[in-house]
Symmetry: C2
């Protein structure tokens, strides 16, 4: 077997970018079903939004020039020439010296270049007293000012947030082509691992909680997870089960038991699934060093460390990146992290990236990150945390008060 050198976090991200292919299978969904999906093609506007000049206030459509010089003490006078009804086409164009009533959202009659708010005028027997002047364009949204016909509204690879869905709806688009949702399959290995529902443990046994944490994160990213159960530390059984799950899913996740057998087999089983195989075997990171990343005939395979806290942090970092890339997400939501000041000095070994669980609190308009005490293997350190501080590999630690990047929990 090939010799693997431990990779830095930065190298690992670069290798993921290089190795993980997009799914590229497209399906058509209604807008309601397309929320949080990834757009598979660019959207070009087929019409203007709004489709007509709209008033943003209740008021009178006017020529701005006709209001110049108007004030409370020296009002101007215009002839009220009619009224536009909501949802109806405005009638005749406006002539100089005239005003036409328009409700908020109503169509501004042709000719008019601005709307005077009702608060700033008074209609008395067909005559409008104007108490303020307006500028051209004031209180109007022009046809096409929101979206212009022919404009690329959204690019392929965009994750559809509620506002993207809203913008598509405003164009009368009711169905879109998106990449199909991906599926991940999950398999636990290790002689000490028992199903989490096990009520009473024998000494030496631990419950399989990684499936729940990993599937929970995946669900948050829109990925369905198939649970493959717990496999014995036997190469043939392990390899057959891994192959079966690999065939069913777009991503295979193995949660390594920490028994010697499982450790020996995991790499071999992954290599048996297809070419080119393992591209990361060990990351210079704490926690989570014994991580394996592979791609077998285009499908990513992730070998997570067995410790629950490590497994969760590794999946949060690299699993999310792999999933986003696999599902074709190129324009996702920002920010993925925030910055906070550290409440303490935290040492770190240069050449290794450290991920420190922290509580966040706000003080004087900034976030502060307070490290959580406890060994890296404890799941409760994650329960108590609001996020994880990243100490990049080139750093020897962080100083109290230093501004540091924090990946917020999901």
């Amino acid at each position: 077997m090939q010799f693997f050198k431990v990779k830095t976090v930065e190298e690992t991200f670069a290798l993921i970018q290089e190795h993980i292919p997009e799914i590229r299978e497209v399906e058509t969904r209604t807008l309601e079903e397309a929320l949080h999906c990834i757009l598979a093609e660019p959207i070009v506007a087929a019409e203007n939004v709004p489709g007509f000049d709209r008033s943003t206030v209740d008021g009178y459509a006017v020529f701005a020039k006709d209001t110049y010089g108007s004030s409370e003490s020296m009002p101007g006078f215009l002839t009220v020439a009619g009224e536009v009804e909501m949802g109806k086409e405005a009638g005749a164009p406006l002539s100089r010296g005239e005003a036409i009533y328009v409700p908020t959202g109503g169509m501004v009659p042709p000719g008019s270049d601005s709307v005077l708010m009702i608060e700033h005028c008074e209609e008395i027997g067909g005559l409008l007293n104007t108490y303020r002047q307006v500028a051209p364009g004031e209180n109007i949204i022009r046809a096409g000012e929101d979206i212009k016909e022919g404009e690329v509204l959204l690019e392929a690879g965009t994750k559809l947030r509620p506002q993207e869905i809203g913008a598509l709806a405003s164009l009368g688009i009711s169905k879109v082509n998106v990449y199909r949702k991906i599926k991940a399959a999950y398999l636990s290995t290790g002689d000490e691992i028992v199903p989490y529902e096990t009520e009473s443990l024998k000494v030496g046994q631990v419950r399989d909680i990684n499936y729940l944490t990993v599937a929970g994160l995946a669900k948050g990213w829109g990925v369905e997870t198939i649970y493959g159960g717990i496999t014995a530390d036997d190469y043939d059984i392990f390899a057959a089960k891994a192959r079966e799950l690999y065939e069913q899913a777009d991503i295979l996740i193995l949660s390594g038991g920490s028994s010697v057998g499982a450790k020996d087999y995991t790499t071999e089983v992954i290599q048996s699934l297809g070419e080119p195989g393992v591209f990361v075997h060990g990351i210079s990171i704490k926690p989570g060093k014994p991580t394996i990343l592979a791609v077998a005939n285009g499908k990513p395979v992730i070998g997570l460390p067995g410790h629950p806290a490590s497994a969760m942090i590794i999946f949060r970092l690299f699993g999310e990146k792999i999933i986003k890339q696999r599902q074709g997400e190129r324009h996702g939501k920002k920010p993925e992290r925030l910055f906070a000041r550290s409440t303490k000095n935290i040492p770190s070994a240069p050449g290794r990236s450290d991920y420190i669980r922290v509580r966040l609190f706000e003080k004087e308009g900034e976030w502060w990150a307070d490290p959580i005490i406890g060994k890296s293997g404890l799941i409760t350190t994650l329960v108590k945390s609001d996020g994880i501080v990243e100490i990049q590999s080139e750093k020897e630690g962080i100083l109290q008060g230093e501004l540091v990047p924090v990946i917020a929990s999901k």
Copy 2:
């Protein structure tokens, strides 16, 4: 009808806190189904996690004292007295001068107080050469060190993230009592509003996109939405439809048309639903001033402004708060916002809270917020944005370079 004074944002949040009751209806869910639900009761640990002293490395369980003074140049010697198998109970207790092999995650034999990593020793014919000393407690997680029997692991009102689910599973808990999910019903009003699927618009018409943006946000918060369609500007029809939806849901959302009829009727319709009725009628905020908040016999009613961008920002701010409170969420995930430096001076009227759509970018380890140009009614300003900057009501604006709070988009 009562006279309403426009409220500040801060007053509005306080009134929501005071007026919106929790749902308090409980259901039992499996852990997988309980993800992102709100815990209805505190969880007290019925056992220790881990249940036994576990090794965090592959190595030899020892008495720390027996390794003192060991080094590469001056190794110590211990007798190898056996091996612990993964998932099995350790056998006899350790005696002074002995070492017992333990795999990562394996049970540390009674008596031993530390584990020496295999990298730091060498077994030669039943004798262990120790090349390093260990401290008491090193490489061991003690029984109960993660979760202690009798400890309150989670409090009622906690939103269950993947790590909370994992911690519950580690205790062998497979079902939990959570508040039932809540349902929101949505109704649009306004003569100009037509279904968003309408392919070709008549002049003056606009598509109903608020349902999709509001339901999209609600879905992200775990709330199912019932679409009540678009109602005519007729008091009786509007009131009957609102009543019907109010009966079906835990929260009623009305998206006000901007026609005069709809404006007149909305408050009246809301007041007809029950006591005490409207508690906020107009907020000193931009955008979104014409917002109505009410509670009718314990059920919240939200009257959103008709403009799509305003509706979305108002629902993001106050809708989320109302939903969290309604579903009993008291310990949610942090942070709800981040801080960024403004790229520009932004003026604001004191006494009014302004919400400015911004693009976020990272520069020298900080976030910067760049205001998006465009009128407040444009949905594309939200499409282009990564979040909204809050200018609190007491401020007269923000200065270029000032650190400001940003609510990130979801």
